[in-house]
Assembly symmetry: C2
Homo-oligomer: 158 residues x 2
């Protein structure tokens, strides 16, 4: 219940690869072969990324995909939302707010879960496609984050 779907995994692989090919047009076929995954299925993920204008598509022979958004400002959270839709921990912190769930009157875990939701969102927004594609450029940022989460753990896990 906190597992990435295959479609999401494939989307992350694909966008990471396209970003790393910086400027070159890369086809769905090439991606499917590189990672040995289903061509039709990864195509679905690519189409979703195209609809959000994260990548541009070029039809016809020699066509494929190319990065449109700057990888440095494109977060994992945005990729996941593009392929899965806005995913919330529980029904009530989605579209309709508290009214979305029929038992919102009785429920007493809504507020703490909303807090956790915000923290989870922050984590998914904390990694960019650029950091996935060019890890060597970003080592110092990894360190900073692990220090932050370290102090976060130390304060509240006991």
């Amino acid at each position: 219940m906190l597992r990435l779907s295959k479609k999401s995994e494939y989307a992350l692989m694909a966008v990471q690869y396209i970003a790393s090919c910086d400027g070159r047009v890369v086809s769905a076929k090439e991606i499917a072969e590189k990672y040995a995954i289903s061509f039709e299925f990864v195509s679905k993920a690519l189409q979703a990324l195209m609809r959000r204008k994260f990548i541009a598509s070029q039809q016809g022979a020699g066509g494929g995909y190319i990065m449109l958004r700057d990888p440095k400002t494109l977060s994992v959270a945005e990729i996941l939302e593009a392929v899965e839709g806005k995913q919330r921990l529980v029904e009530c912190c989605g579209e309709g707010g508290a009214g979305a769930c029929s038992m919102h009157g009785r429920c007493t875990i809504r507020t703490p879960l909303a807090i956790i939701q915000r923290r989870l969102d922050a984590v998914l927004q904390s990694m960019t496609v650029a950091q996935m594609a060019f890890p060597d450029d970003n080592l110092e940022q990894y360190v900073v984050i692990s220090q932050l989460t370290g102090s976060l753990e130390a304060s509240f896990s006991n």
Copy 2:
């Protein structure tokens, strides 16, 4: 794909309620009625919590459940793991490590995902049952956390 299962939601409700009843024995029936959820189903969650010794069970008339672990040291992460088993974002950061997935040779998103996994774990460990059951006692901790995640967002979302 980042949604809590109903079983997990029920487990959180149940343990929050038992903790808030501090010392009193509370039956599965009472919990099911309070939240208007399936008695049999919430019982499964309670049994999982009992197996991990988070709560103790008392059979027979007048029986039920009572808190065993200190709510202040019991995190949401532990509750979720008790009812769902250890859940990882992707196969490869579970039991068998990198070897668990057949495509670990080709895969290039393993390392970034492992980093995200650690951060997600930290978030789930950052909230305790006590904080869910007695939110008024813990306001200052919420503030501290939101400052931490705030700086986390500010550093990396753009």
